[in-house]
């Protein structure tokens, strides 16, 4: 499985006590050089550099065709007041995820909304950290025996990164984990 990470996801995930698990979940995580340039803090740079050194994070070879896709997408969504502002690097990640068939790792509400309705880009699977935690469980990378164990890991993430997941997202993920545990 391939992933594509945006800057906010990496900035937040780099603070998580179980951050090293991310690389085990994906065959490779793709990153655009403009996203890499957004990272400034020692924790995020250190995390990204170590992943790059191990080959777990890879720079994506951006092409002219992808730049055209980006411009089309930008024209379609960037000025819509109902969508939180979208910066160029966020949309680049969305284009990469679409082209590579990768899961998009993002904490950007605007991007999460675009994939809810866009005729082309709704094919992209977008995960927040919560869905990444969920898939760590399915992959046996985070051992949980009950929903409470899973919620404990989510609490660790929320505490380390000062995040809150929406009640809807929590409800949906917890229900899936509960079903998985019951199998």
């Amino acid at each position: 499985m391939l992933g594509v990470a945006d800057a906010c996801f990496l900035i937040d995930w780099a603070r998580f006590r179980r951050r090293e698990l991310l690389a085990s979940l994906f065959e490779a995580i793709l990153i655009h050089e403009e996203v890499l340039a957004q990272l400034r803090s020692p924790s995020a740079i250190d995390f990204a550099s170590r992943l790059l050194a191990r080959g777990a994070l890879r720079l994506y070879p951006w092409s002219a065709a992808e730049e055209e896709l980006f411009i089309k997408l930008r024209d379609e969504v960037a000025l819509d007041p109902r969508i939180p502002s979208l910066e160029r690097p966020d949309l680049l990640c969305l284009v990469i995820a679409y082209r590579a068939g990768a899961s998009l790792l993002t904490e950007n509400l605007g991007v999460l909304r675009v994939v809810q309705f866009h005729p082309t880009f709704s094919r992209v699977t977008a995960w927040t950290a919560l869905e990444v935690l969920e898939h760590l469980v399915y992959g046996g990378l985070a051992e949980v025996r009950s929903v409470e164990d899973f919620l404990g890991i989510v609490s660790e993430y929320c505490e380390d990164t000062k995040h809150v997941f929406s009640s809807r997202r929590m409800r949906e993920v917890v229900e899936r984990v509960r079903t998985w545990l019951a199998k």
């Binding site: 400034r40 379609e76 809810q116 000062k162 995040h163 809807r168």
Partner: protein, 93 residues
């Protein structure tokens, strides 16, 4: 807007209907998220900040957008993220 390149009229109508339903859902979510940020924020810390940082933090509470808030503050996204953590404002997704 999305679907600008779609050719068929029924496709466009269906998309508009979907978007209408989604927008209602987004508005409810936005209100929930805003309330969570307002409730959690350290307002004393926010009031003590210089005007541009205070404005950026208040914008973030209202809109939850780290990029624009960082621009208002004149900081990088990461620097702003550190500030919003000190102000005890969660990212809600």
């Amino acid at each position: 807007m999305a679907g600008g390149g779609e050719s068929s009229a029924p496709g466009h109508a269906a998309l508009s209907k979907l978007l209408e339903a989604l927008v209602e859902c987004w508005e409810r979510e936005d209100e929930e998220f805003r309330e969570l940020r307002r409730r959690s924020a350290d307002w004393k810390f926010i009031e003590e900040q210089p005007p541009h940082l205070r404005a950026a933090l208040i914008y973030f509470i209202e809109r939850g957008d780290r990029y624009v808030a960082a621009r208002i503050a004149g900081l990088t996204v990461e620097e702003f993220d550190e500030l919003r953590r000190r102000a005890n404002i969660p990212v809600v997704v």
